[in-house]
Symmetry: C2
Subunit: 229 residues, 2 copies
């Protein structure tokens, strides 16, 4: 039994090191990495389509998109942005090894922002560092305003929460204030955006946030280079 | 490494035996067990509320409801049906040991139908037998008609699929035929119901199905008792 626990601990520690190395390598290139996490069907791919339409003409974007099976999401995104499908073959979350592989298949380009769309799962991806700078949790208005408290680790480990499908709000018993309050009880520092990929609500604000975060990353890299000169 | 694999195999085998024993015990009592699985926010609890309202006056029902944290779902269901909350403390699926414990806390009643509402997760619960007779996958119209192919194990291991939130169909780019075709490519024998807990669509048909499945279970128990007399 002790052997089983030790083997598992060694594997987790190696994954953490690889994620840190990946983050550091892309940081030096000025690439901001986002890990998008949510339930299935919350609208991660639709958000990326809308984001690529808004930002694609002024920033260099790339997407790695994870699923258990099929390349449906990569097919949807291919008209808008360079993309590679990561297929887990049944596993419930992405791992850093698959991200590294997708990154190589993408040609290791110099990007401004790399988006990683995780497997649709509000539980397991919370426990896996993919080298991201920002973890963004999506919660759709159709899922109910009680979800942050029921899936606390995902929201606790995120820096951003996007409420999606705001266009459906008139047809749903969803209270935006309750959802935000529930999430902030778990993670008070969350940046929050209310969005709709269909109406376009909140997409400019979200894209402005992304640009600012990328500028901060570049400024930090320059400052640390100057400090070591 | 071999030790790690062997330990894991022994644990899985023990869980499978316990699930089989639980199913056999409740079968002898004439209790049909359902395991409801879906993404977060697909409407498992709402379906159970509607089912309890429809069937509660003629069948003895009980519910075990699983979540990572909070007892929100048990609070919602308590006015309609005897219920116990199973809290996994972060784990991504229910296990048979928690089900057995909840069943004891419920007072081991003689029921016609025991519903187990699993953790909201379209991946991991597919790999865990909870002693159910019927696994029912819920897919909401808000999640998109492409989900069965993207989460194949859940639909392959289910006997029933319920399309939920049919009342929202006019506002969504969801094609019922595509979703059903996608699911039947994976599991041709699926029984399928189109439902809405809000409008009541499909709830009588679903409840009639449940009553029939329960009658078949009881008839099979009687037939096998007669055969061994």
């Amino acid at each position: 039994m002790k052997t089983a626990i030790r083997v598992n601990r060694d594997i987790q520690s190696e994954k953490k090191q690889r994620a840190t190395a990946f983050r550091e390598k892309l940081t030096r290139q000025g690439t901001l990495i986002l890990n998008l996490v949510s339930s299935p069907g919350t609208g991660k791919t639709s958000l990326l389509e809308a984001t690529a339409r808004e930002l694609g003409n002024r920033l260099r974007l790339g997407v790695l998109v994870g699923d258990l099976a099929t390349d449906r999401d990569a097919q949807r995104l291919a008209p808008f942005v360079p993309v590679r499908q990561l297929t887990t073959g049944g596993a419930c979350h992405l791992e850093i090894s698959l991200v590294e592989q997708g990154w190589q298949e993408l040609g290791e380009p110099e990007l401004d922002i790399l988006f990683i769309e995780n497997v649709g799962n509000l539980v397991c991806p919370a426990s896996h560092d993919l080298g991201e700078h920002i973890r963004a949790s999506l919660l759709s208005t159709t899922e109910g305003d009680d979800k942050p408290g029921k899936y606390p680790k995902m929201f606790r480990t995120s820096q951003v929460m996007l409420l999606t499908k705001m266009d459906l709000l008139p047809h749903l018993p969803f209270c935006v204030e309750d959802a935000i309050e529930d999430a902030r009880l778990i993670q008070p520092d969350l940046d929050i955006f209310t969005t709709s990929a269909i109406s376009g609500e909140g997409i400019p604000q979200w894209c402005e946030y992304l640009e600012q975060q990328r500028q901060k990353l570049v400024a930090n890299v320059r400052a640390s280079e100057n400090a070591t000169d």
